[in-house]
């Protein structure tokens, strides 16, 4: 993806339709990135690119299907807000990405570096293997020596370049007097090269140049897979962070200016438009509206906000524009203070040692002892340093953790790839292993099991005339309840009544004149209706009758029922834990068939429940999205959050659900279980090869041919076994 800053270099035909005057401005072209979670095929690529290129001012647009992203070079006056409606018209969901947060270039560089080393090791080992096969096939005397010398000439520089990551890691471990997997690897490489050179100079029969190179190659392949998995997860996590472009509208002497949230200070007047999120803690100075607090507290009922109302960062403004005065900014906001709870909660992650670490702890000292013992044994037996060193090198090479190095990354790559295609992003390396142990699942309600959008429940209770009136009033407002009501009424085939003088009263509802009388749709107090516990919008039809209530319930997220059922079927205990009122929680719990639920839970209560379950020896999976779940997400053994969650919640969780659908959760548990099983199988396979080959090596019967065979077959079987997961 070459940066096409200069429009005359644009190579795609779509760019020819761009009016030149738009692009010829002397200013630097704007680079935009859009996240396109919905694209999946070549028709999508073509449609999106064509659609974007047709927008005047866009110089070039290129879709990256792997990252599900579009990169756009456009004239400086083009903003993402101009392009997103175009894509929505074409039927694609699109979100703006903050390019500053996406540091893809950095991880690219490290990945490319590993790939280069892998390539050098691969091609060098092919050449050396060619020469080695001739030696094994019977080349002798001068020819064999020449082949060995050529192999040495290829191997030494190739290893010096390719094996640098191992040298570096081994050195960092040794400097602090510790052992890691890289120490035996480096020892084996160095010993193999030294003994082979020595043998070659004495016209010896056995040289391990090919073994040293293939070893480097296989180990680098493991490292590269591992890196790729993590890079994909990181870039997608960065993408999620980049979705929240932190800007606020600052009012300076009555003039609106768009500034970064980080630049706000206490006492600033900030304008928050309907649909916007509060950037700071503060107090409403003017304006009336309703606030959605669900991300902070889990409550689904919107709260009225007028002059003097205290608001916290993270709340969403629903109906009218609000001007607020900042009372706390940045780290002092309640949003951040809630984040501090996370630091206190003990992380489930830190209590866990991965299977690979366990294996390395056993393996690294074992290999050194075995090799040292065979060296000592043979030296005492023969008093010949050359034989003893040769055998020690052979033992090290044969036991070298080729298969061990591939055992975990090959499986996690296959499993994460599979889950990524299902819409799940594994952020933490050991998340799969921890997920496999889960026996209890705790769900948050608002925003996790429910979509956070209201759904009308009592449409059939109304006369058609009332519905027509309600639809006319609801269409004038962008309030979630109004939109849901309008949608439901239209779906039922209702057409709007003729009303005049329609206006929205922010924070209360909508009002109009209908056949000479005033009609209203809004909150209870405004239309003199009795208030009730359920989310209700009241219609005052102006006919003297009592106001009629439209009742709403929180719609379940797609796949919520299937996910819960799947988990219950798998024999897991499912809890529902929410900060919302008892009625709302009980309703959802009954609909999903969950018998254990807790309502009106404070963030501390959530952590306490997780801690109690942990003390009972249960492994808890926490699924949540709100700020009030963050501490619980951290405390749980493993945690999942949907992409719509707040940044803090996503950071605290190990796995992120990219789509709307919850169904993959049940499948993820299953995949994780199988992945862990494969990892164990891989360790067993690797051990099996060692059990066969090591006695040969210790007995001095191993030849470079046997070493090459054992190494390649074990690495290949381990990789194939991992591929069964895809």
């Amino acid at each position: 993806m070459t940066a096409q800053v200069n429009p005359s270099l644009a190579a795609c035909p779509g760019c020819l339709v761009v009016p030149r005057d738009a692009a010829d401005e002397a200013q630097e072209a704007a680079r935009l990135a859009l996240s396109l979670p919905g694209i999946h095929c070549q028709a999508c690529i073509t449609t999106v690119e064509k659609g974007l290129n047709a927008v005047p001012g866009v110089n070039s647009a290129r879709v990256n299907l792997t990252l599900k992203r579009a990169l756009i070079e456009a004239a400086p006056n083009i903003h993402a807000t101009d392009l997103i409606p175009e894509l929505t018209k074409l039927g694609f969901e699109a979100h703006e990405l903050d390019l500053g947060v996406l540091s893809a270039t950095q991880s690219d560089k490290a990945g490319r570096d590993l790939l280069m080393r892998l390539a050098v090791a691969g091609f060098a080992s092919m050449n050396v293997m060619l020469l080695s096969v001739s030696v094994w096939a019977g080349a002798s005397d001068a020819t064999r020596d020449m082949f060995h010398w050529i192999s040495a000439a290829i191997t030494l520089p190739a290893i010096a370049f390719s094996a640098q990551p191992f040298f570096k890691h081994a050195w960092t471990a040794l400097r602090v007097r510790r052992l890691n997997m890289d120490v035996p690897i480096v020892l084996a490489l160095v010993l193999a090269l030294v003994t082979s050179l020595w043998e070659t100079s004495l016209s010896g029969e056995h040289a391990y140049f090919d073994a040293a190179l293939t070893l480097t190659f296989f180990l680098l392949a493991g490292r590269y897979l591992d890196f790729r998995t993590r890079a994909v997860a990181r870039s997608a996590a960065e993408e999620l962070a980049a979705l929240e472009v932190p800007r606020a509208i600052l009012l300076r002497d009555g003039v609106e200016a768009e500034v970064a949230v980080g630049d706000l200070s206490i006492g600033d007047l900030i304008l928050v438009r309907p649909g916007g999120r509060m950037p700071v803690d503060g107090e409403v100075v003017s304006g009336q509206s309703e606030l959605d607090r669900s991300l902070l507290t889990g409550e689904t009922l919107p709260v009225f906000a007028g002059q003097g109302t205290v608001i916290s960062a993270g709340e969403v403004n629903l109906t009218g524009p609000l001007t607020i005065r900042a009372t706390a900014v940045g780290k002092d906001t309640s949003l951040h203070r809630m984040g501090d709870l996370v630091a206190i909660a003990e992380s489930g992650r830190s209590r866990y040692t991965s299977l690979a670490d366990n294996a390395a702890k056993l393996y690294a000292p074992g290999v050194h002892i075995l090799s040292a013992l065979s060296f000592a044994g043979w030296y005492l037996y023969t008093w010949d340093l050359r034989t003893a060193l040769n055998i020690a090198a052979a033992v090290l090479i044969i036991t070298c953790p080729c298969a061990l190095g591939l055992a975990v990354p090959a499986v996690t790559t296959a499993a994460s790839g599979r889950l990524f295609r299902k819409g799940m992003l594994i952020k933490d390396a050991t998340a799969l292993e921890r997920l496999a142990q889960v026996d209890t699942v705790v769900f948050d309600k608002t925003g996790t099991l429910t979509a956070g959008t209201p759904q009308l429940t009592n449409l059939d209770d109304f006369y058609r005339a009332d519905l027509e009136l309600a639809l006319a009033l609801a269409e004038a407002s962008a309030h979630p309840l109004s939109r849901s009501l309008a949608q439901a009424a239209r779906d039922a085939g209702v057409s709007a009544a003729e009303v005049t003088d329609i206006r929205e009263v922010p924070g209360f509802g909508t009002e109009a004149q209908y056949q000479g009388t005033r009609v209203r749709l809004g909150r209870a107090a405004w239309v003199d209706a009795p208030s009730n516990a359920c989310t209700t919008a009241w219609l005052d039809a102006g006919d003297g009758a009592a106001p009629r209530g439209f009742e709403f319930t929180d719609a379940l997220r797609p796949g919520a029922a299937e996910a819960v059922q799947g988990l219950l079927d798998a024999g897991k205990q499912v809890f529902l834990l929410s900060g919302d009122s008892s009625e709302a929680v009980e309703g959802v719990a009954t609909r999903l068939g969950v018998s254990d639920w807790v309502a009106e839970a404070l963030p501390e209560d959530k952590v306490d429940l997780i801690q109690t379950l942990f003390d009972q020896g249960q492994k808890v999976l926490m699924v949540g999205d709100g700020l009030n779940d963050t501490a619980a997400l951290t405390a749980a053994h493993v945690s999942i959050s949907p992409a719509s969650a707040l940044d803090a919640a996503r950071v605290a969780s190990d796995i992120v659900l990219l789509g709307q659908d919850l169904t993959p959760i049940a499948e993820a548990c299953d995949v994780a279980k199988r992945a862990t099983k494969r990892i164990r199988e891989n360790f067993q396979l690797a051990t099996l090869y060692n059990v066969i080959a090591v006695p040969l090596a210790v007995a001095g019967l191993a030849t470079p041919l046997i070493a090459a065979l054992a190494m390649s077959t074990s690495s290949i079987t381990v990789s194939l076994n991992a591929l069964r997961l895809r």
């Binding site: 993806m1 070459t2 190579a11 795609c12 035909p13 095929c41 070549q42 028709a43 690529i45 073509t46 690119e49 064509k50 879709v63 990256n64 299907l65 792997t66 990252l67 490319r112 790939l115 280069m116 390539a119 050098v120 091609f123 060098a124 092919m126 050449n127 060619l130 020469l131 020819t143 020449m146 050529i150 290829i154």
Partner: protein
Amino acid sequence: MQVLTFLIPISLILGGLGLAGFLYTVRSNQYDDPEGDSRRILSDEWDDQPKP
């Protein structure tokens, strides 16, 4: 054995060529979007090069 003086350099050069080719593909960003590239061949649009 005279033939080895040709064969060995040839095998080394061929290996080197393969390596150089691979490094070229890495440097020209051909692994950035494997999924998209594999789909683009199905598209009738000439989006990488102007139509001849």
